[in-house]
Symmetry: C2
Subunit: 634 residues, 2 copies
């Protein structure tokens, strides 16, 4: 027997049509309002809404007295169950802002199910505490409307995606692959899991990449999984050590097949979760990595605002299309509104490069190229100055940022791209640029170089991962000019956030071997870690490709939060700590030794421990601002 009656309704459910019904509600006590000694109002909240309870002293004075006693004892956020009658509110007390604002419940019985101690903060007050406090008391923080709403949207999005892949596109099979995987060469830093056998370790899977390729070999024609992935990277940016990927793979699929499936999926999610139509019939625009880097200085550009970067090499004598470098500029219309200290801040982003910041005045509108230390090479420049001013539409009041860089771009940002993003933020904060948060500019970035030169060791590394197939037309360059080979990789970007990436994979064991051997020049030992995959490709592996979408980032865009922590129930802070349960923690020596490992004795790391234990300081950068390496999504 339950010690309290079963609730008949939620606190968000009752309406005028329920008037006269005897109901049972359960929920959290809000602030009691005392009108008189005989009249009290008590809002009761649950996950679905708030309903007003009303206490009036009744004809049975003893019962009435007991009930009132109970009522007055209740601390805020205590959990109660009540019985009562739904009554219509007097007209003057109707609350049109609340769904249940036309009724109230005449209290008859009250069961205090769990009295609450004093809470470290009130989840329904406007001033929310700092993030550390919220993380430490996450169970209280979760009661806030915004987190409730974000988690429910996430749940709806998950549902919608499964509905789309499983139900609407018959044939996708949801397959779970192991999290306990093994170490693979290349890729991000992985968590290691010692076994009870000396020297043998699992690692936590960074992505189901290899397993899903084995599934393709195994004839699981279309696979998907909501995969928990683990990466032990520094959480300097908005990144979590564990995150969720919507991982899918299809046999016999081309880039177009995968892109159009993904577009359908995203369109469905946006419609279902926030009611936004993304123009069903139009494909998302595509841009090559090279164009994106030249135009926006980023491989995940936010195209909701203009601020394009222009190549101005042709105005500078001595520069030609075969030069190793180019000169480019970012024109900030009306850039004079940037203050000196803002420009100073922008200059700190240079990382050693030296771009020029030139404010256009009536005096220099026809001599800014000469004024720039970057471009004032020769006297011939003055001939081209006017052409530049005209072609670029330079006006008095503009701010020009001029930079010289290597023609071949690498990585995720150029310096001007980084400045473009920061300038946009500054302009937006001043009201000089409108970046509409309800606009969603999706963009496919494609034609990434398959390999990138690691300048430190002067060797080639995979730009994404070694399983990405080359563009077939570029195959002939593979052995002669591998840096020019483009990969069949694509990233999906929205509003400056990379929300997914994928590729068509290599299905030929021979080609895979050539890439590991002749291009990446892997040692025999490293290469042997891929033996199972190369063998599998040889057992009749179909051509295949897929994509992995980052659910956390998608939700962050949908919920318009500045951090993915706001769309996760129990995120970890930058130190890697989960403050809500105090993980990670120390273990007994015996427990550790059972795993045939021992704590390494080293000096001078006490400070780090303190930092982690206290869990202080994590970055508050927004998703858009973040740089990361490319080995990220596959």
């Amino acid at each position: 027997m339950s010690p309290f009656p079963t609730r008949t309704h939620t606190c968000g459910e009752l309406r005028l049509c329920n008037v006269g019904e005897r109901v049972v509600l359960c929920g959290w006590v809000q602030k009691l309002r005392t009108i008189s000694a005989d009249l009290y109002f008590l809002p009761l909240r649950d996950s679905y809404g708030t309903t007003q309870l009303v206490y009036r002293s009744s004809s049975d004075p003893e019962k009435s007295h007991l009930l009132k006693d109970e009522l007055l004892k209740l601390s805020p956020e205590s959990v109660i169950c009540i019985e009562g009658i739904v009554v219509k509110r007097p007209v003057e007390t109707i609350n049109n802002h609340s769904m249940t604002g036309e009724i109230e419940i005449e209290l008859d019985k009250l069961y205090c199910l769990n009295p609450a101690n004093k809470l470290p903060f009130a989840p329904h007050e406007k001033n929310i505490p700092n993030e550390e406090t919220r993380m430490r008391y996450r169970c209280i923080d979760l009661r806030r409307d915004s987190l409730q709403s974000n988690l429910r949207k996430r749940s709806l999005a998950s549902w919608t995606i499964k509905d789309f892949l499983y139900f609407l596109n018959l044939g996708f099979v949801e397959v779970e692959t192991p999290a306990l995987f093994k170490s693979t060469p290349e890729g991000a830093r992985e968590f290691i899991v010692p076994t009870r056998t000396k020297s043998l370790f699992y690692t936590l899977s960074q992505s189901p990449q290899q397993y899903k390729q084995l599934l393709m070999v195994g004839g699981i024609d279309k696979y998907f999984q909501f995969a928990r992935c683990f990466r032990d990277e520094d959480l300097r940016s908005d990144r979590q050590p564990e995150f969720t990927q919507i991982d899918l793979e299809m046999s016999f699929a081309s880039i177009n097949n995968i892109m159009s499936l993904t577009e359908g999926l995203i369109t469905k999610v946006w419609k279902q979760v926030i009611g936004v139509d993304l123009n069903d019939n139009l494909s998302f625009p595509r841009i090559s990595y090279e164009d994106a880097m030249n135009k926006y200085g980023s491989d995940k550009p936010d195209t909701r605002y203009d601020l394009e970067i222009k190549d101005i090499s042709k105005f500078v004598p001595g520069m030609s299309e075969s030069s190793e470098h180019i000169i480019e500029c970012l024109i900030i219309k009306n850039g004079r509104i940037l203050t000196g200290s803002e420009i100073k801040f922008l200059k700190t982003l240079n990382h050693g490069f030296e771009p020029d910041f030139i404010k256009i005045t009536p005096d220099n509108i026809n001599s800014w190229l000469l004024e720039s230390i970057i471009t004032r090479y020769t006297s011939h420049i003055s001939q081209r100055q006017e052409a530049a001013t005209n072609e670029l539409g330079v006006e008095v009041g503009d701010l020009m940022i001029i930079n010289k860089r290597r023609r071949i771009t690498e990585g995720n940002w150029t310096l001007l791209g980084r400045l473009r993003s920061h300038v946009a933020g500054i302009l937006e904060s001043k009201g000089a640029l409108k970046i509409p948060s309800s606009k969603y500019n999706f963009l496919w970035i494609e034609s990434f170089p398959l390999f990138t030169r690691d300048r430190e060791n002067n060797k080639l590394v995979s730009t994404h991962h070694p399983f990405t197939a080359p563009v077939s037309g570029d195959l002939k360059l593979l052995l002669t000019d591998p840096e020019k080979v483009r990969g069949q990789h694509y990233d999906l970007v929205v509003n400056g956030v990379e929300i997914g990436g994928g590729s068509v994979r290599i299905h030929s064991p021979l080609l895979q071997k050539i890439i590991l051997d002749d291009i990446l020049k892997m040692s025999r030992a490293k290469k042997s870690e891929f033996d199972h995959l190369i063998n599998a490709l040889g057992y009749g592996c179909p051509p295949h490709g897929g994509i992995a979408l980052g659910l956390d980032r998608i939700m962050s865009v949908i919920c318009n939060t500045s951090s993915i922590r706001e769309v996760m129930a129990f995120p970890k802070v930058a130190s890697g700590a989960d403050l809500s349960v105090s993980s990670p923690s120390e273990l007994s020596k015996e427990k550790i030794r059972e795993y045939k490992v021992d704590v390494l004795e080293e000096k001078d790391d006490k400070d780090i421990i303190d930092d982690i234990t206290i869990g202080r300081s994590w970055p508050t950068m927004s998703l858009r601002d973040v740089t990361y390496t490319k080995v990220e999504m596959c």
Copy 2:
């Protein structure tokens, strides 16, 4: 541009109505049948079916020749793409066993997408290799019809469950909780994950128990998750180091609420996945732990067959209801068909106990009690012998197994329970007992003791976990007679397999503290590991309860497999190894040291490593036969 055309149909799709269409198919080459130099048949298989391709030399001899050349070069299981025309088969070659048996494809073009090397085994031959080979080449094994079907059923089951929880019962929110958790006292052995900070470790979550309780505190009224859980237990039985739980929790819910929701969910899955009606309107039967142990000698009895255990103490002088022990017997009707060596085998299961095995003959039908060394205490027994024979319906030819045990049962099996299960297996194999595989006897086991005495240390431990609420009527016994307190825990059992378990949890911080302090007598250090939870209960935690269902076990019952490995894509073998990718593996010293640990130097464990590396020997016991401890599902 894709180097091959996009498929227009799958190999399971074409019918008579498609005759005349030009189609593109992709798939795996089966065995080529040569009829003449001008006529070849080639079945093409994909994940959806098989379609017969036919080659006939055509009017264009050159093209014809090239195509034939290509055809003859194809090794089995090579991946090809073909273009051709759907034609009707001549009547005499129609194959009624195949969905596509009325048509064939007149070959026109053939693209070999990936020639296959010789496979270690043929996935579509009747004789399948041993499990080690299948695990090592799992990507080939996955092509077998049974694995394809099992994984697709699993996917359908997952879908159905989400559909039921999310869509049909509006209000369930799918929330993902961290896998990187922290060590908790009590519970099974957990995997540890070193961090890059000395002495700090995560552990992999054994279940989302604590997080889901925090979600209830946080006002996520109804939660569910398909949770990956990790336990580093010996895989001596049919258990995996990582497995999937359908984890759910509800606020303000009683045992009945949770049971009826679960029954609805299970009924829906059985109907949807294998078309079996479980009698919607009937609840599953419930039985107390004590009754189950007395009647079936197991807390997860298979009730599809009778073979009940009888208490025969009353026939034995000197035994009373207050005796510490009881005498019980298992009557195997017609048990004489058990051979001497089978009985010898059964006796090996005794683990030191000494039950009597007595074959009933005309000579001893009225003296078997006297014949038993367990029951022949006194001369008075003869008076009760006839009553026993009559009441139990003992007949000549029966086999009686008589045993004495402590009245209070503990753990999962009594000796006679274990024998009952094995005897059933032997009888079934001899055709003397019919255990219908298509019958599903669901059963709730409830009223488990909340605590069990750990005889080694003579202290009480939680039978399940320390968060289980006591039956409210038993609260008064908590401090005086804790061993008599029953928990609000319930297990769901079908056909002898425990497929889930749950409980109503403690929501009072005071009660939780009393249990940790006064009953479990936890040290201050251990208890402090639960501080966050006790604090959370004090912030207005609603009464709540839930259940976790083992998806792997459910699928194993549904797919009628002897092992959960047959319903997982990439299971690990008993040694913990994933032979398909050779995990776990050795790591470089540097990599290990980055995590501030080092391999513990110890001698004499080389043999273990060899065992694991080779990955040999894992048990082939069926799910029904397996003993396991109770800390398992929560």
